[in-house]
Each structure stands twice: as C-alpha cells, then as structure tokens.
C-alpha cells in the first residue's frame, strides 16, 4: 500500500534541509499549502456533489437533470457558482448584523474543520490527533451554532422557527452519532483516525465485517443519525422547503446563501466519509485472504478506495432522501429518543460484550 507520508516527509525535508528554512517558515509554508489544498478540495467536492445530487435526483424522478450546459450538463454547477459569486449581497434591515454575518462563516468553518479529519489515503490525514473521533464530533457541531445564529440573526419568523428546529434536532442526534462512533472505538481500541483505518486493513478486517452484528447495527444507526445531522431529507426540518420557505437561510442572498448550500452538501460528504472510514475501512482495500486477489486489490490506490466507499454511501443517502417524505419535528425526536438512542446504548453494551468475549473476527 502506498504511504502518502513519504511525500509529505520528503516535502518537509525539502523545506528544512535543502532550502534551509527555519521551523517557523517551513511550518507556515506547509500550513498555507495544506490550507489551499483543503479549500480547493472542499470546493471541488462540493461542486461534484451538487452535480451528482441533481443528476441522481433527476434519475430517481424519471427526468434527465442538467443536459444543456456543457456536454451532458457537466458545466452546470460551474455556471451556478459563477453566478452566485457575483450576485448582490445585502443586509436585512433590523437584522442582528454581527450574528447575521458570522452565521454562514461558522457553518462553513464547522464543516471545513470536520472535513480535515478525513483520512484520504495511507498517511494523508490532515488532522490526526489521538482523540480524533472525539474532536471530530466536537468540531462538526459548530455548524449547529451557525444554523441557530442564522435563524436568530435574520429577524425573520420562519428563520426563528427553523433555528429552534435545527438546534433541537441536531443536539438530539449528536447522541446517537457519538454512541455509534464509541461502539466502533471499542473494537478498534483507538480514537485516532489513522489508527482506526489501520485496525481495518487485512482480510475481513473492515469493521462492519469484523464486528458483524453490533457493527452493522451501529452503521445503520450512524447513517440515520448522520443524515439528520447533515440536515438532509427525510430530516430536513430546519430547511423544510414547503413549510418554512427556506428555513434558516431565508434572508441570505449571494454567497451567504452559497456557504449554507456548500456546507449542506459537504456535511453529507463528511458523514459519508466518516461512515466509510469507521465502518468500511476508509482507504483500506478489500482483502479476502486469497493472495492473488489481495495483491491486485492493493494496487488500487487508497484514495480511490476511500472515494468509492464515500460516494457509494452518498448515493445511498441520496436514494433515501429522494424516496421518503419529511418527518414532523416531534416524530424526529421520537425516532431519536424512543428508537435510535436506546438501540445505540444496547448496541454499545452488546459490542462491549462481544469484544470482551472475543466474539469478533480476529
């Protein structure tokens, strides 16, 4: 398996030794470079996702989706972004200007922050702490604050209702989300992202296979809770197009709205990415213990594995979104507190028992 850290170490050495730069300068350059890469990847993936959503949704609905801008509509999202960039931005009278301004930034910061935790390849994890999973859940919940402030700051009644809904829903579903991750951590024995993937390399080592029943339950709960956390149908309470016009971002135009739009799609990707990392082995290739097959599989780069898994889950979530009607706020909470939470807890105990008794695939 190709280790990307070779490249990063080489580059670090290039700066420090060959060019003889000091600690500060070399770290600065590295940070800027990583920052640029992250933001570019963020934007590009968001655009791919938006295009994918429009095409996938169209095909579910017996339509064609974008067709006329570029070949097969490929340039459609580019045109949208271009327009949104130069669309007029204005402030709403009587809005709380500061909160109104900060809200989209918080949303995007929360989502970029969480984005940085994804392990792209062996050795290519941007933030790789020993409390990775823990920190990830903390960072990603900054987004809730953004949504809440946007709703509150806009001085719009729909937005306030939407803010309340968003906060209630996300805080609730964070519980299940964390429980599922902890279930996985019990098996892997580490919270570090790279460590979690490391634990899943090898034949039949993907967590969902390794931990079989409890891991599978955790995976399903994680997807449901993650879908709610990313604010997507059937849990798109905060936006709830047909009820609250555009929910918390009713009063945002131009790029302010663009940030919410991008963050919504990226959150989807982050949820899928985490699910892929924690349960489907991240960049770990599919190994079945037959040498010839495994070697071939190992030739495929880790990033391809990761992307295929992540986008597979994205497609799955889109399928769910474009099939089901939206739930009502009390039903969403009922689902969480009556079904998902207890199940998550029982599942946690189950997993502990399985690990303690060694019932997982070794």
């Amino acid at each position: 398996m190709f280790d990307f850290s070779i490249v990063t170490q080489w580059f670090d050495a290039l700066l420090r030794e060959t060019l003889g730069l000091g600690d500060f300068l070399s770290i600065l350059i590295e940070c800027v470079l990583v920052g640029v890469i992250v933001l570019t990847a963020y934007a590009v993936i968001a655009m791919i996702l938006i295009f994918m959503e429009r095409k996938v949704c169209a095909y579910f609905q017996c339509r064609l989706g974008p067709m006329r801008v570029g070949y097969w509509g490929l340039m459609q999202v580019l045109a949208d972004v271009l327009k949104m960039l130069i669309k007029e931005i204005f402030f709403v009278d009587k809005a709380d200007k500061f909160l109104y301004l900060v809200a989209p930034l918080l949303v995007i910061i929360g989502s970029v922050g969480a984005f940085c935790f994804l392990p792209w390849n062996n050795g290519a994890t941007i933030l790789d702490f020993n409390v990775g999973v823990f920190l990830l859940t903390a960072v990603s919940s900054i987004g809730v604050v953004g949504i809440f402030l946007a709703g509150w700051g806009s001085n719009n009644k729909y937005s306030v209702v939407s803010a309340m809904r968003g906060a209630v829903q996300m805080i609730s579903y964070e519980m299940s989300l964390c429980l599922c991750l902890i279930t996985a951590v019990i098996l892997t024995g580490t919270m570090q992202m790279s460590g979690i993937v490391e634990a899943q390399t090898g034949p039949f080592k993907w967590l969902i296979i390794q931990g079989h029943i409890p891991a599978f339950i955790a995976f399903i709960i994680f997807l449901i809770a993650g879908n709610a956390e990313a604010n997507r149908g059937p849990f798109d309470m905060a936006e709830a197009e047909s009820e609250l016009t555009a929910g918390h971002h009713t009063e945002y135009s131009g790029m302010g709205f663009g940030f919410f739009y991008l963050a919504e799609f990226l959150n989807l990707f982050i949820i899928s990415g985490i699910a892929a990392t924690v349960f489907l082995g991240g960049w770990a290739p599919l190994n079945i213990g037959i040498e010839a097959f495994d070697t071939w599989m190992n030739y495929i780069p880790g990033i391809v594995w990761f992307m295929v898994k992540a986008f597979g889950i994205v497609w799955l979530l889109m399928w769910v979104k474009w099939t089901f009607p939206r739930l009502r706020i009390d039903q969403i909470l009922k689902l969480e507190w009556k079904y998902l939470m207890p199940m998550g807890l029982i599942n946690l105990v189950l997993m502990t028992v399985f690990v303690a008794l060694g019932l997982y695939i070794k």
């Binding site: 169209a58 095909y59 609905q61 017996c62 339509r63 064609l64 399928w319």
Partner: protein, 186 residues
C-alpha cells in the same frame, strides 16, 4: 380495489418491523424507476432539441389566432365585426371603411386593419364560433414569447402567416401514444 388504513400495529417491535417493511417497499419502487429507461432519456421529451423531429402538439391546441388564407394568400374576412362583438375582453379590433365595388357598384365594407392582441387573448374560441365566413382559426403555434409588449399586437391582415417558426407542427407533428413519451430527439 379499495384502500383503507392498515391495522393498528401498536407493539414496539411490531411497529418497527412494519415501518421498515414499508420503507423498503418505497426504496424498491424508486430503485426500479431509477434504472428504468436508464439509457433512453427516462421520461423526458427534450424540447427544443426535438422541435423539428419528435415533438407532438395537438392540432387543436390554441396557440394564436390566424387568418385562413387560400393558395393566393387572400383572406375571407369581410369586416363584419361579429368576432369583435363576441370577444369577452376586447382582444380584437377591426377598422374598416365602406367602398363601392367597381364591378357591381354595390357598397361593401373593406377591411383596413384587423388588430389582434395576443397578450390579451384568452383563447375561448367565441370569435371562431361567431365567424360566419370561416375566416379565422386558432393554430397550435406556441413559440410566441417576445421582449417587447407591443410585438404581441398583431395585425392579421397585414401578415402572411405560414405557420410561424414551426410549420411542421400545424397538423400535430409526430405520432404519440398513451403511456409513452417521445423521448428521442431524432
């Protein structure tokens, strides 16, 4: 077949199981639709790509009013103003003058201007019903959008209407079938 509400299934796991089953049925249905006609343009008729090939617009569709003309381009309107009077909202305005016919010497109305405001028209067919001379008809020409309101005011006697931008559609265009869409563009 009569649908009624399902049996109340109130046990914790019964409710759960039933719920998951219906969700699965829903997902199965969308899955089927997703892959149906996957490579043959789904259900979409691609206007404007198909406008000269597979587009079908009912011949009776009312797109605009036009004069019926014979092969020499002559119209039959006698400026009797029956259509003007029948119109519920004053879409048609006819101006005419009396003139002597050179051959017979009889006085007869001569049409000066037949003004028809496409932007006003409600396509109720009262004018065509009222016309005793079979002089006007609705055609299914629908490509009429303009930038300037005044361009919607038409003078039917002054124009030589040949079916607008899509003359091939006047008698309906391509074939169609119930339950199918003309999704091909060629």
């Amino acid at each position: 077949m009569v649908f009624t509400k399902m049996e109340e299934n109130k046990t914790y796991f019964g409710e759960l199981g039933h719920g998951i089953k219906t969700l699965a049925v829903g997902m199965k249905t969308t899955w089927k639709e997703y892959f149906k006609d996957f490579f043959t343009n789904k259900s979409t008729e691609q206007y404007p790509e198909n406008r000269k090939t597979t587009l079908h617009v009912s011949a009776r569709h009312r797109g605009r009013l036009a004069f019926k003309r014979d092969e020499n381009g002559a119209y039959k309107c006698t400026a009797c103003t029956l259509c003007e009077k029948a119109c519920p909202n004053g879409t048609i305005k006819i101006t005419s003058h009396m003139a002597e016919e050179p051959e017979t010497g009889k006085k007869k109305k001569v049409l000066d201007d037949y003004q028809y405001d496409l932007g006003d028209c409600m396509f109720c067919q009262l004018c065509t019903n009222a016309c005793n001379f079979d002089a006007i008809e609705f055609t299914n020409d629908f490509e009429n959008a303009v930038f300037d309101r005044s361009k919607l005011v038409l003078h039917l006697d002054k124009e030589q209407y040949q079916g607008g931008s899509l003359p091939n559609l006047l008698d309906g265009g391509a074939e169609w079938q119930v339950g199918k869409f003309n999704t091909k563009t060629k």
